[in-house]
Each structure stands twice: as C-alpha cells, then as structure tokens.
Symmetry: C2
Subunit: 358 residues, 2 copies
C-alpha cells in the first residue's frame, strides 16, 4: 500500500502547489518577503506614519453558496466572494487589508478545480490590494463528495489605533447610509436553495423571468467589496460606525456597532430591493422578520455618520462609485434591552435639504 | 419556511458564540483589544526592540485525523493538534505566535461538539501564549455527514527581520538534530486508517499489544508544539534552519530549508522510532521510501546547526525539556538536482566528542 492507494495523491498536490505559486505571485505587494512554499508566509508591514499599529484579522467561509458553484460547475467566483467577505469584515473597523490566506479542502484533488478556486482568490486579492501570502490545500478522502470542497479564508489588515472605527461616538439623531449588495452575497443560501431547488424544483440553468437571468447566475453574483468606495470616506474622518451585513442580516449586524443607549430605525421603503428577495419571500412564504434576519435584503454595508455630515458622506460615496448609496434610517434612543433594529417609516432629509446641509 | 426549516439554527449558533467567547477570553493576552463578536479581531502587537517587524502567517488543517476523533467521540484534542501544527509552522522561521483564528464547519451544529473543539483550540492557544482572536463557525447542511466537521486554523506571529531563520547559512558539515514526535501528529492518516481500519479490521477501541494501547489512543496523540523548547535555542543565535516534519515527511520537508548546494544525509539508526511506524509498515507492506514521505517516522522537527555548536544546542534543548533530542544526520554537498534527503549511515560525533566541542 502507498499513499496514493489510500486516496491521497502527493504528486497532484505538488502540481496544484506550483499553479498556486504562480497565482499567488500575481498578488504580491511590496511587503511580501517569501515565496509560497516556505512554512509560513512572511510579510513586512508598512508602519510609517502610524502612532500605534493595530492588526485586524477575520476568518470566514462561503457557506453553502458553494453548492451552487458545484451545481453550475463554476469555480472561479467563490474565491472572489471569500476575499471580499473577509475584506469587508475588517474594513468596518477601518483596517486596510494587507494579506490573505486560504484553506481549501477536497475529497479527491482535481488540479483544475483547485486552480480555478485559487484563481478566484487571487483575483479578489489583487482587486483589494492584498497579498495571497499562503494557504493550505487538503485532500481528505471520504470527507467530501466527488467534485465538492470547502473553502475558508483569513485576512489580516492594519489600522492606526486612533483611527479604529468602533461605533462608540454614535448618538441618537445620527443617520444610516446603506450601500447596495449585488444579491445574496454569501448568506442565506441554505434557505434560498431549499426554496428554489427543493420547493420550486428549479435548477441552476433554469431561466426565471422575474429575475431576468438563470437561477445560477442570480445566486452566483459575487459578494461585493466596499473597500475602494468606503476607504476614501473613512479618511474624511466623518464615519462613526460601519456594519457588514452578513449572516443575521440588518437585524443582527447593525446592533453590533451601536452603543448600549442606541437603537436603529431602518425604513425599508428607502431603497430598492433586488427582485430576488421578494421572489424568495413570495415563493417560500418566508415571514418578513425571518427575511431580514437571514438575507441582506439589498444592503451589503451600513455606514453611520452624523446627520449634518450625511450629504458630504453620501456625495463622497457616489463620487467613489457607490451610486446606489442611500439614506436608509436613523439612530434613536434605545427603549429597552439595548441595541436593536426596528423597521419603521423614518423621516429623513431629502436631496434638497441634504444639498443645503440642513 | 424559515431558516431553521432549511437546516440552519441561528439560535444554536448564538449559543456556540457565547461559549466560544468565554473560551476565547481565557486565551487573551495583553495585545487583544476586542471581544470576539466584533467583525474583526483587534490585536496591538508589541513591537518595541524590533528593528523591522515581520509578520509570519500560516494556515493549516488537521486532515483525516478528524475521522479518528469522530469514531472515538473525542473532540477536545484536535484543536490542540491544529494550534500546535500552526505554531510549529511559523516557529521554524523564528516567529513567536501572537494570535490564532479558527474555521469550524459542520453539517448540523451540535453546541457540545463545537464547544469541545473550540475548548481544544483554546487549550492549545494558552499553551503557546497566543490569543484566540476570532473565528468562524459555519453550519452547512448537506456538506458534512451527521457528527462530522472540518477544521482549519490560521496563526500570525512576529519576528524581527534580522532574526528570521531561513536556512541560508547552512553549509556542508552542519548537523541535523531531530526532536521526537508523539506519533503520527497530523499527517499520513488516510494511509494509516486504511491499513488499521480497512485492511486489519481494527476499531478505535481495539487494544493492540504491540502499541500497548488502543488504536484510538495511538492515533489521537496530540501533535506536539516545539515552541517552549526551541525558542530559547533560537535565542542563542546558533540555529541555522528548522524544518517542521509534516505532509511529505523528512523526505520533502528537510529540503525546504536547504540552500541549493546542500543535501541532507539522515541516519534512521540514530533515533528510536515509535512502534506505530514499524507496525504500519509491516501490516501495510508499505515501501520504506513511502513511509519516509508520508509519516514523520518519529521526528517532528529538525534543527540544523554548525557541527561545533551541536553540543550546546543539544544541551539547551535537553535542558528545555526535549530529552529525546538526537543528532540524526549531516549536511553534505548536493550531487545533482538540488536539495534532497538521502537515508544513509552517518558518522557523527558521539557524546564524549560533543562534550569536548570537537
């Protein structure tokens, strides 16, 4: 017996390593000191100008969005999802991503599928200016069905301590600005799949008129990175808090950045929900409260700022490409039980008032 | 339909989050600035005394050792394996671990099993002095069989650039010191399981006389961390290169730290192999070359130093608890094809000669 007979192919693994090395190199930034292949990846952070450098790190996966990728045979987008999800998770605290590592686990290693996944990760890294510093590709016979894999990512970023964004200064009267998502991003896929595939009997290649595309195209839209638009706004110093809308939706994620005395009132009439969310609600007969705790409902990131800064922050976001950014709610005093979100009609300054800064 | 009906239990997830928070707090070091639950974990590294701080990062999994944990119903040790594996991967470049993040993916979330796994990770973090800064627990219905999960870890450490250990100064004549493993550590489990369970029909609770324990006990011995013993040796400045013996065995891992002109001659007669390796070889009729490329064969870490420093390095290792450390080989000129390992009889200084420093 040898290792290949037991289901592990060291040579196929080595082939993947070579391809990964080339892809990783395409992401290398000035700080990278080592090739992939060293035991650990080496990165020299640029600390000049920082008074107290703080590392910000986050780990994440893509969840069962992977099942859609398997069914569609599309393996180049989940890596982009993974990187963007991780980058947003540290962006909300003001951090700039510096490097990324991945974990890819499969049953039997297909060098082509593995390389496609890593290609997506490398694309995501290049788009966010962070280096793919290393990773692990594990072949685990018996753990994953043929053609299946799991994927996790890990990002490290830097922020100067005085510039950490933590929501501490948020007070009643502040406003919430919502940035549009591209669709489901990476959350709610177990429910969405069970409605679309199990209940409705659709397939990834089914064209759905209401969606104006196939189910697979809708579900594989990539998780957006908000870095390029939000970083310039952060640098204005006018951002008090940011929430990344992932698992738990607006309902669970917005309170994560609110001080104890604050609640958020969000007005769902103030943005246009992508059709997929109403389609899922109608077809799945999902209670609205569950929709808002499961899906992002069209808002991928929420920025909190003072009411008097709303116009300048919105303008900057639009200038930086977030043309769908919109005022979606306001901070109110928490009545009881600490930070929470209520969905309600909210009176907010209109464009004319915003333009006057009132 | 709601999310729970589709297989995801947000409340069970929240319960795990609360337990994980308490476990993570038990690992917190001075640098930690945030609770688990913030989008990203915040860590303020101690940089004083460093001329050029370099971050060293590594991602890893536990591989199919997990299948043994499932069969034995023991979930507290794989987390220790994971942390120690990662810590060793950055120790070999001279880095001190500062924080760790985990990714735990399951089919249906069992709060007890998840908490046991994280408990192991927290234990490993405390033992290595690194903070469990965050992580992701993903419930992915349909991806993992009942009671199964996958596990990945990410470690970040720090080293001052002038003190990076990279093997660059290794020259022919240098010697290799081997540090004992506790058993298989985390590599070769697919082959070991196929020999022990499939070929021999053993079970995790089968007592094997040759092993003096059950199969489960043998296979679940935790991957050792070499940090506490090796760090003081690194600080003497006498260590030229270190290799962590993981997938690929001595055969593939030792060359990773050798300069192009060097080969390593390793003498298997110079250390006592734990019985499990001969048992696997005999029962599985595994060619010896495959054994050395699949298993660590009793050596978990290899330290390279100048021949004249061998005695001092060995003594320091023994003083720091590595009483099984042994001279196992020497560096020779590479004949052709770059760095490789050959297994051969090697004449090495004996204890008496070592004591005289000759």
């Amino acid at each position: 017996m040898d290792y290949r007979a037991s289901g592990v192919d060291i040579d196929a693994g080595m082939e993947v390593v070579e391809r990964v090395k080339r892809l990783a190199k395409s992401t290398f930034t000035d700080g990278v000191l080592s090739d992939i292949g060293a035991f650990g990846g080496l990165f020299r952070p640029e600390l000049s100008g920082m008074s107290e450098p703080v590392l910000v790190a986050s780990a994440d996966g893509v969840g069962t969005k992977l099942a859609v990728a398997f069914a569609a045979g599309v393996h180049t987008t989940v890596g982009v999802d993974l990187v963007n999800h991780c980058v947003n998770d540290i962006l909300v605290q003001g951090a700039r991503p510096v490097f990324f590592l991945d974990y890819l686990a499969t049953g039997r290693l297909s060098p082509d599928v593995s390389a496609s996944v890593i290609e997506g990760i490398a694309t995501g890294c290049r788009q966010n200016g962070c280096a793919l510093l290393g990773g692990e590709t594990a072949e685990m016979p018996g753990f994953y069905a043929d053609g299946q894999y799991d994927l996790a990512g890990f990002v490290v970023g830097l922020v100067d301590r005085p510039r950490i964004i933590d929501g501490r200064s948020i007070v009643p009267g502040d406003v919430l600005i919502g940035l549009p998502s591209s669709g489901l991003h990476t959350n709610g896929y177990s429910l969405a799949r069970s409605i679309l595939f199990d209940k409705l009997g659709l397939r990834v290649d089914s064209a759905v008129e209401a969606l104006d595309c196939t189910v697979g195209e809708e579900l594989l839209r990539t998780h957006r990175s908000y870095q390029s638009a939000v970083r310039p706004v952060i640098e204005t110093g006018r951002v008090k808090g940011i929430a990344h809308i992932t698992g738990g939706g607006l309902t669970d994620n917005v309170p994560r950045v609110l001080p104890g005395a604050c609640a958020a009132a969000i007005d769902p009439e103030r943005w246009t929900r992508p059709v997929i969310f109403d389609f899922l609600r109608d077809q799945g007969e999902v209670p609205l409260a569950d929709m808002y705790r499961t899906f992002n409902m069209g808002i991928g990131l929420v920025v909190v700022c003072a009411r008097e800064d709303a116009h300048r922050v919105l303008s900057k976001l639009v200038t930086c490409g977030e043309i769908g950014a919109a005022l979606i709610g306001e901070i109110r005093e928490a009545v009881a039980g600490g930070p929470r979100v209520e969905y309600a009609r909210v009176e907010l300054p209109g464009d004319a008032q915003l333009a006057c800064g009132t």
